[in-house]
């Protein structure tokens, strides 16, 4: 029997190497943010800088309010977007899951076709900017990602078909419950596992989204944390020009610009990394559900 086992020591060594390869870039990023600015310039980025400094963080959290604002925007967009998206998806998916629903195939096809063909960036952009006039509103960060192309709807539909007993719905109806009540009081509570998994994927999607902010938002007041990061990547001075009034102008001369960039990146990535151990199990489940067709 022993020959059937791969050498566990070799395996563990292999995975430790792979794990380091996976985490090393994060360590470098974090270390860069804690490096003293002048050390960074003279010694470059390194895992063990000769001089540490919290200057970048001090600056980030004291001199600049925009980071808190951006955090707030990101959190709001993630919560509202995920909750609304889940509700709309389930409300569309449930009738489609009902075998007795008239024209269900027509509607299913309408959902499904969005997976096959899309108008592309230019028409979508024009619909949102010219028709809905969504530019520079908080909705531009929420609305375009709501249903993630109908894919989640199909996942919900499959779950409802497979896991909600028809008899249950039927008997609740006989007992006088309205369809919406059945959906709200029976179907949704029974579907909490799949709602949680899809909700997780959707939250990650919203938290990490920078694309909508890039094309629809120019007003720095509405920048999410990703947009702030995106902007600072190309424009290091951005944080100083937008957020510092004249009262702090004296600070601008010795702002740790390089390390500040990386401190921002660390602050942006931390929430997700810290929450990760708690949702890893659901994420793995969600990814397997999401990959196989809904």
């Amino acid at each position: 029997m022993k020959s059937n086992q791969m050498n566990q020591k070799v395996l563990h060594t292999l995975f430790i190497i792979m794990g380091l390869a996976s985490l090393f870039p994060f360590i470098l990023l974090i270390m860069a943010s804690f490096t003293d600015e002048s050390t960074l310039i003279s010694e470059g980025f390194s895992i063990l800088p000769s001089q540490f400094s919290f200057e970048a963080y001090t600056y980030l959290f004291t001199a600049s309010g925009s980071i808190f604002r951006a955090y707030g925007i990101s959190a709001f967009v993630t919560v509202v977007g995920t909750a609304t998206g889940l509700l709309i998806s389930c409300m569309l998916a449930y009738p489609l899951s009902r075998k007795d629903m008239p024209y269900r195939n027509v509607f299913s096809f309408l959902v499904f076709f969005t997976l096959l063909f899309n108008g592309g960036l230019v028409p979508t952009y024009l619909v949102y900017t010219e028709l809905l006039d969504i530019k520079n509103t908080i909705w531009s960060l929420i609305v375009p990602n709501l249903l993630t192309n109908g894919f989640f709807i199909l996942i919900f539909r499959t779950f409802f078909v497979m896991s909600i007993p028809k008899e249950l719905i039927e008997s609740a109806y006989i007992d006088g419950a309205s369809e919406f009540k059945i959906f709200w009081k029976i179907v949704l509570p029974l579907s909490l596992p799949v709602i949680a998994t899809i909700g997780l994927l959707s939250s990650i999607n919203y938290w990490n989204d920078w694309f909508n902010g890039l094309i629809y938002v120019t007003d720095a007041e509405l920048f999410s944390i990703q947009n702030l990061l995106n902007r600072m990547l190309t424009d290091i001075q951005f944080l100083q020009t937008t957020n510092l009034g004249s009262s702090t102008a004296d600070l601008t001369s010795n702002i740790p610009t390089k390390t500040l960039q990386f401190a921002m990146a660390v602050v942006g990535v931390m929430p997700i990394l810290l929450a990760y151990p708690f949702f890893q199990k659901y994420l793995v489940k969600g990814l397997t559900v999401g990959a196989v067709k809904g």
Binding site: S22, P25, P95, F112, T114, G119, G120, G150, L233
Partner: protein, 331 residues
Amino acid sequence: MKTETNEQIDTTLIRPYANQTLNKKSYLNTKLKRLLRFRMLFLMMVPGLAYLLINNYLPMFGVIIAFKDINYTVGILESEWVGFKNFEFLFQNSSAWIITRNTILYNLAFIIINTVLAIGVAILLNEVKHRFFSRFYQGVLLVPFLISMVIVAYITLAFLDVENGYINFNLQMFGLEPISWYYESKYWPYILPIVNMWKSVGYGTVLFLAAIIGVDDEYYEAAILDGANKWQQIKHITIPLIMPTITIITILNIGRIFYSDFGLFYQVPLNSGPLQPTTDVIDTFVYRGLMTLGDIGMSSAAGLYQSIVGFILVLVTNYIVRKKDKDQALF
């Protein structure tokens, strides 16, 4: 005994109106009730359908922009039709060829590298005895998957920064010349696949590991009785049995070969002009045309070109999947 009660439930619950059908009035009543019942279901679908109409279907009709010379002062509908002129411009330009080539070659490289590596890692992960450790390793490999491309761009910058990047600093330590990574396009066909591999191999591993865990232990037990060693087991049991998953995932990826990860190609090269010959793909081309150059005609022509070829590819690949395994086909 059990079946009997089941049947009882059936007749009383599922066909409650069975003996009322003779009574015409109450029949109409129930019919009305049914309509009312479905009206509520229809109402529930309204927000979602309205959303799809605006977010997905309106832009589909918007593809007519590609055949127009857009003039904002008169509006999109009133703008002049120019036939295929936008497409002529697009394909006369060498950029159409470059972005098509880049998109396809990068995606092919990603598919091959990520699939092979993910299968390998998944097989190894399945051999780790302690469940705690296998879960832990899987979790660690999945971390890069969680972060946004903006963060990836920062990380890449920490490595490749010309003045004090990690790599240049180490090159100098070994007495080598530092490299201007963001100005020399020849390195990027290697950099991008590495970044992509780092970011997405964990995801692939999750998918293939799920398939491997699904393989029945009996096959292995029988193989061990026959004296098969580990390598033979992998070659003759694991790989053949997860082949359907591998095929489907690969075919689906090929169906999306005309679309690329915009973030990877836009953020990671820092939108650097000199890198465009090797980093420009259809998506970045469309974006630049729309947002930076304001060339809506060319941009929408390229977008429609992508949508149509992409659509055909999805149809073809789905047809192939369908022939192989009907359950896995999208439709």
